[in-house]
Amino acid sequence: MLEIKNLHVTVDGRDILKGLDLTLPAGQVHAIMGPNGSGKSTLAYVLAGKEGYDVTAGSVTWKGQDLLALDPSERAAAGVFLAFQYPMEIPGVATMTFLRAAANAVRKARGEPELSTPDFLRFVREKAAALKIDPEMLRRPLNVGFSGGEKKRNEILQMSLLDPSLCVLDETDSGLDIDALRIVAEGVNALRGPDRAMLVITHYQRLLDYIVPDRVHVLSDGRVARSGGPELALELEQTGYAEFGEAAA
């Protein structure tokens, strides 16, 4: 279970999260929605441990463990995975090399044996095929020259390789056409399970047609302003975020 209590976060001296409370039980998928600037991406980065996001009050625990005391790689080993809104391009690091380094680092930290090369390659190819990722892509430098859809599918591939228990998806739908969105959503849905919790951050309701959440939380000015079932997302689609501080377009 993820428990966030009274979380206050400042970035560059500005208060972004102002007493956020959230409980996400294992096995559930919760959506975080909200207007631009409400603190959605900040929440994602704080959970993953990005530098420059200073927690000034509150706590975050995952399965009873104090997440805030861990550095980013330790959080990954503890089961946290952030699918980035804008995955980084790293020239000079082959995608496969990176996947291997990540998978082995996480397995090592969890006290699991490293996968042999043939086992690892088979495992990656299988997962990649399910996500319709061209094997050629895995030989290219990480995310370099990848389309928006390829980058997001690559994020989901990493997610399935690292076997996380807490998945945070930050605006995974941004920049995707409908076909890519469907493939990505199928990849995410395949990972749903009783031991895995997911936090799906999105500005638009569209993604939630494909990844149907158990709960929806609306963020406004750094706090959860409202929570409800999946129907809340549909309601927001109609009314917009006007009542949560964003001017209607």
């Binding site: 995955p87 790293i90 690091v93 990493q158």
Partner: protein
Amino acid sequence: MELPVKQFQTRAEQAFVDLFTAAEQGLPGAGNPWVADLRAKAIDAYATLGLPHRRVEAWKYTDLRSKLTEALPLARPTGVAVSEAEIAHAFGADIAGLEAYRLVIVEGELRTDLSDLAGLKAAGAEVVSIAEALQKPPRWLKDELGKINSQERDPVVALNLALMSGGVGLRLAKGVSLDKPVHVMHLDGGSEPSSVITRSVVLIEEGASLDLLESYASLGDTEIQRNAVTEIEVGPKASLNHVKLQKESGTAVHLVSWVLKLDADANYKAFQFSTGAALSRSQIYAAFTGEGSSLDVSGALLMRGHQHCDTTLLVEHRVPRCVSRELFKAVLDNEARGVFQGKIIVSPGAQKTDGKQMAQALLLSETAEFDSKPELEIFADDVVCGHGSTSGQIDEDLLFYLESRGIPGVQARALLIQAFVGEAVERIEHEPLREALSKASAEWLGVSFD
């Protein structure tokens, strides 16, 4: 002999002339007028110029007059026993084990007991010890030695010619290519502090091709001052893949100059990898003398502590339609200092020249320094020339991305540094060598990605 009147500024500056005066009669080729003339002219040139210092533009960042406080005595070959284990330890097992024709030079002497001279000759190359050739030169060597893009105005190159005591001469006749690379290994630092001054000549005649690795390492921590020159001519339609590995001990001074000329439709590709020496300067003087040739020089240097590593390139486009590419990467930690100077000269009439260079540094500490000085001198109007230089730190966003995937910080940093260097290392054609140097950079970083 009479030396010109020059007020030397420092003891060391004078000491090199004294070395010459004292050693002249004992140097290889003594009494041979051809050699005596080469040496005399060279020491004259040095005596006129003195040691280069910061007010000499080409040496602005590497002031030898202040950095060299003495001239170490000339190395004397002792035939010291060198075991395979020592060679592997000095160069690293991958480099030492590279499938190649070995030519091993210890204390300036080409060691026939450690070199595969017979194999190299059987494969079709001509190979001579420079020390022997100075006594009794083959025609081809006598015609070329000291004359290929000669750089008489460079005092370090001039000193080398005056004091050269060994090295190797290698010639591939028309159309010859070898089944494996030639690996010239320089090993020193195991005995007395000394100046090791060698000159080698590599002739690749029309249509011939060669993979050549020159590596420099140390048997021990004894201080040495190395001054090595390799003269290279790549003939018409000939090609040379030329790699240098420098991992001398942290006490070494390493001054190595490659002077080369490229004939028509020649292809020259070079890579330099440096992690060693206290003070190093690697110079490449290249001249295009025939149309339609290409040169691609790249390199990576990884330095820490108080190491100083200077790479200085001068590419002269004397004729039309030649292409030059340069890419250097520097990784600098602690108080290390990297210098890159790249000068491209396009002569009047050298139309359709295409010259580009790029130098990039990754600074791992606040106190590391990178000085980059690109220079273009263009006297033709139909050319494409460009240069760029960047220096920066590790990108924190990239680091976070890797760490968020479970890769611990130290390893994530290493992976990014390796990637930065990798862009240059990738340009090495010879695969086992490319892998060996990629591993060497991982070793420098203290990590393994296997």
